[in-house]
Amino acid sequence: MRCVRVEAKINAKTILSVIALILAVVTPHLIPEAFVYILGLSFLFIILVVSWDVMVGYTGQVNLGHTVFVGVGAYTAALLQAPERLQSIGVAIPKAPIFVSIIFGGIIAALIGLLIGIITLRLKGYYFALVTAILPLVFMQTVFVWRNVFGGEEGFSIGLENSLSSSIVGKYYIALIIMVVCVVLMLLIVNSRIGLKFKAIREDEELAESIGIDTTKYKVIAFVVSSFFAGVGGATIVLYRITVSPDLYDIPLMLLIILSAVIGGLGTIYGPVFGALIIYLAKNWWLKEILSNLFKIAPIPVNDDIILYLILIVVGVLMPQGIYVELKKRCHEVRLKFEKFSKI
C-alpha cells in the first residue's frame, strides 16, 4: 500500500514537472520579450536556490555565504570572456568558448568551496554559519582592491557578442536547458546513496558518526557540489545579462536565496524551484507593478525590497522550519483529527 503511494507521488511530481516544462517551452511565444528576459533570469536564480538547498536542506549545515560561489563563478566566466582585463596583473590566458567558461565558473567555485569546506566543516555548531557569513564581505573587497581586474563597484561588461545567444528567446531557452540539467543532476545526487548520508547527518550528526559515516567528508562533498552549481549559476547569469558586478556577492542576493528556499521548503529540491520562481518574479516584476499602483493612491515609504524582507521576517518568525515542513505538519494534524472523527 505504502509502496503504491510513493510511486503515485513520484508520478504526480513527474507529470507536474513535464507540464511545467511544456509551459516553459511555449511561454516565450505568448508574452513580451521583456518578460521573457526576466523569466530566463529567474530560471538561473533557481539554480542558485536549489544549490543552496543541497547543502542546507540536506546536510543541515547553514551556509550564509553562498553568494561567494555565485560571485566566483560569475567573475571567472566574465574574465574568461574578457581575458584582456587580466593583463594588468600579468596573466595572459586565451578567451574561452562560452560553455567552457560556464563549466570553469563551476570548477573554480567548487575548488574554493573545497578549501573553505576542509577548513570550516570540521567544527560543529555555529562556526560554519559564522565564517561563511563573513566570507562574501572578503570576496567583495577583492573586487574593490583589484578593480583594474574586477571592475570595482560597478563591475564590467563582457560585450554583447559574448552573450549566451544573440536573441532573447535564444538566451531564454539556453537558460532553461542549463537550469533543467543542473536541477536534474542535483536531484540525482541527493537521491543517491551519498544523498542518504547527507540526510543522516542532518537528522543526527552524532548518530551518523557512530554508524561509521565520515561526517566531515560528506559535509565537504555536499558543500563542493553546492558551490559547483552555484558557480555554474553565477557564470550563466553573467553570460545571460552580459555584465558582472559585486551585487552577485552581496547580502541582499543571499537573503533572496534564503527567502526562496524557506518559502519553497528546505530539503525538497522541488520546493526551492517553485519558491525561487515566485520570489524572483515577484521582486522583478509583480511587486513593482502593484506598488507603483499603490503609490498613486498614497505615497507610503515602501518599496519591493521592504515587502520581501517583511515576508521573510513573518515567515521566519511564524514558521521557522519553513513553510513546507510547517504545512506538512499542519496537514498531518488535520488528518489525525479527521481520522479520530471518522472513527467516532
Partner: protein, 457 residues
C-alpha cells in the same frame, strides 16, 4: 498547485501582452534612475513636471505625453531589466536618466538592442567613446545631464587659477578621490594641467565607498605642507564627513574641489554648519541659487511650487531638458516632412542638429558634440565654481554667471598674517570642551581604580 500558479503566470503575461499591440495614441517618456536616491527622484519629478506643462500646451504633435518610471537600484541587472521593460513593454519613445557610469554601460547595451533614444546622465568618457567607435549601434545615446568627465579637469584647473587670483597661493595639492574609473579619467587630464601651472600633487589618495577617516588624511596633508585639499568625490558618499572634519580641525589648508555632496541644498545643515567656506564645482551647470537661464529660473520656481522643495540634485535639469529637446526634435522632424517623426533613427538625426554652432537654450544652453557628449564651456554647460557661505551656495566664478564673491576662510586669512609676522609660536587654547574632557577622564580613571581595588579584595 504549481500548475495553478503557472497558469496564473501565463494569464497575467497574456493580459499584459495585449496592451502592447495598440496603435500610437500617446508619447511615452521613460525615466530610469536610482529611485531610492535623490538623483532618481529629481529625474522623475522633473520629467513629470515637464510632461504636465507640455500636456497643458497641447502635447507633442497633438499627442498627450505620459511618463513611465523604472528603477535601476544602482544595479546593472535591475537597470537593464527595467530599461528593457520601459522600451518594449511600456513602449517608451525616449528614455532619460541614468546615473552611475557602470550602470550606464550596461544599459547602453540594452539601448542598442532595443534601439531607443536615450538622453542620459553619467559622466564617464567611455560612453561617448562607444558612440564614436560604433556609431550605428550606439547613436541613440546622448548625454544631456552633465559634461564629459574629462572636462572636470579643466574645471578644476580653472578653479585653482581663480583661487590663486583671489588671495590664495596654491602650490601643493593633496588629492582625495573616489576609488573609481571616473576619477582616473579626471586625474589623467588634471596632471598635465597642474604641471603647466607649476603646481605639485603632493599625494593622490583613493578612498573606497563609505570611507570616513579623513582626519588622518587632513593631518597628512598638513605634514606634507599642502595648500589645497582637493576632493574628487561622488561615489564615496562621504564628502560631508570630509567637510566636517576640515571645519573642525581648521587646518591651514583650503578645501576646494569636485565634491558631489556639497551640491545638496541641505549640505550645510547636514554638516552642522562645518562646511562653511568649502569651495566646490557645481555639476550639471546650474544651481538653485544662480539659475543660468530664464527657463531655468522658471523651472526651479515651478518645481518648488509642485513638490514643496527645490530640485534634489542637478539631474533634475537634465531630465527636464531631455523632455523639451525631444519635443523640439520631433517637431522639427515633422516640420521637415518626415514620415514618422517618432522613428528613433529620425529623432537622432534631428537631435544632432543641436551642435556647438547651433545650441538650444533650455534650462542650460545645450549642444551635442559629434560623439553625442554635451558641449562644455562658459557659453554652454560647465561646472561653475561655487562656495558655501553661511548656509547659502554662491557661484563665484566665472564672472558672467557669478552671484557672489570668494571669501577666504578666516583661519586661512590668519595664516597669511602669521606668515607676515614671521611665525609666532602656536599656543593651545583651552576650550570649554576641555573641562568636560578632563572631568570625564578623571571620572573614568577613578571608576576603574575603584573596580580594580574591589577586585583585589
Amino acid at each position: 498547485m504549481r500548475k495553478l500558479w503557472l497558469a496564473m503566470i501565463v494569464i497575467l503575461m497574456l493580459s499584459l501582452s495585449i496592451q502592447t499591440a495598440m496603435a500610437k495614441d500617446k508619447v511615452v517618456i521613460g525615466v530610469i534612475g536610482p529611485m531610492s536616491l535623490p538623483e532618481g527622484q529629481a529625474e522623475k519629478n522633473a520629467a513629470m513636471l515637464s510632461a504636465e506643462e507640455i500636456n497643458k500646451e497641447g502635447g507633442i504633435l497633438g499627442l498627450p505625453v505620459e511618463v513611465v518610471v523604472g528603477d535601476t537600484k544602482l544595479n546593472p541587472d535591475s537597470a537593464t531589466a527595467e530599461f528593457r521593460r520601459l522600451a518594449t513593454v511600456e513602449n517608451a519613445d525616449v528614455i532619460t536618466g541614468g546615473f552611475s557610469s557602470g550602470v550606464m554601460a550596461a544599459m547602453m547595451e540594452t539601448m542598442a538592442e532595443t534601439k531607443t533614444v536615450f538622453l542620459s546622465d553619467a559622466s564617464s568618457p567611455a560612453h561617448p567613446a562607444k558612440v564614436a567607435e560604433d556609431y550605428e549601434k550606439y547613436k541613440y545615446w546622448f548625454r544631456i545631464s552633465q559634461n564629459n568627465g574629462t572636462t572636470f579637469a579643466w574645471d578644476l584647473a580653472d578653479m585653482i587659477d581663480f583661487l590663486n587670483a583671489n588671495g590664495l597661493k596654491i602650490k601643493k595639492v593633496y588629492v582625495i578621490r573616489d576609488e573609481h574609473i571616473w576619477t582616473d579619467a579626471v586625474m589623467k587630464d588634471l596632471k598635465p594641467l597642474l604641471e603647466e601651472r607649476g603646481i605639485e600633487i603632493v599625494k593622490d589618495v583613493q578612498v573606497p565607498k563609505g570611507y570616513t577617516e579623513y582626519e588622518q588624511l587632513i593631518d597628512e596633508a598638513e605634514s606634507l605642507n599642502a595648500d589645497l585639499i582637493m576632493p574628487i568625490l561622488a561615489i564615496a558618499g562621504t564628502g560631508d564627513v570630509l567637510a566636517k572634519q576640515w571645519g573642525t580641525l581648521k587646518p591651514k589648508i583650503m578645501l576646494a574641489g569636485h565634491d558631489l555632496a556639497a551640491i545638496d541644498a541641505e549640505f550645510f545643515d547636514k554638516t552642522d554648519g562645518l562646511a562653511n567656506y568649502e569651495v566646490f564645482i557645481a555639476d550639471g551647470g546650474a544651481l538653485v541659487t544662480a539659475p543660468p537661464t530664464e527657463m531655468c529660473k522658471k523651472f526651479i520656481e515651478a518645481y518648488k511650487q509642485k513638490y514643496g522643495h527645490y530640485p534634489e540634485s542637478h539631474q533634475a535639469y537634465g531630465a527636464y531638458d531631455a523632455v523639451y529637446i525631444y519635443k523640439k526634435a520631433v517637431e522639427e522632424a515633422s516640420k521637415a516632412g518626415e514620415q514618422n517623426p517618432f522613428d528613433p533613427d529620425v529623432v537622432v538625426k534631428y537631435l544632432e542638429k543641436y551642435n556647438p554652432e547651433n545650441p538650444i537654450k533650455l534650462t542650460r544652453t545645450i549642444a551635442f558634440h559629434k560623439n553625442h557628449a554635451l558641449a562644455w564651456g562658459d557659453n554652454y554647460v560647465r561646472n561653475w565654481v561655487s562656495q558655501w557661505q553661511d548656509g547659502k551656495q554662491y557661484i563665484i566664478s566665472p564672472k558672467t554667471v557669478a552671484n557672489g564673491e570668494f571669501k577666504i576662510p578666516p583661519w586661512l586669512a590668519q595664516k597669511e598674517q602669521e606668515e607676515k609676522e614671521q611665525k609666532t609660536p602656536e599656543t593651545t587654547k583651552a576650550t570649554p570642551g576641555f573641562g568636560i574632557l578632563t572631568a570625564v577622564a578623571g571620572l573614568s580613571v577613578a571608576l576603574s581604580l575603584a573596580v580594580l581595588r574591589r577586585k583585589t579584595k
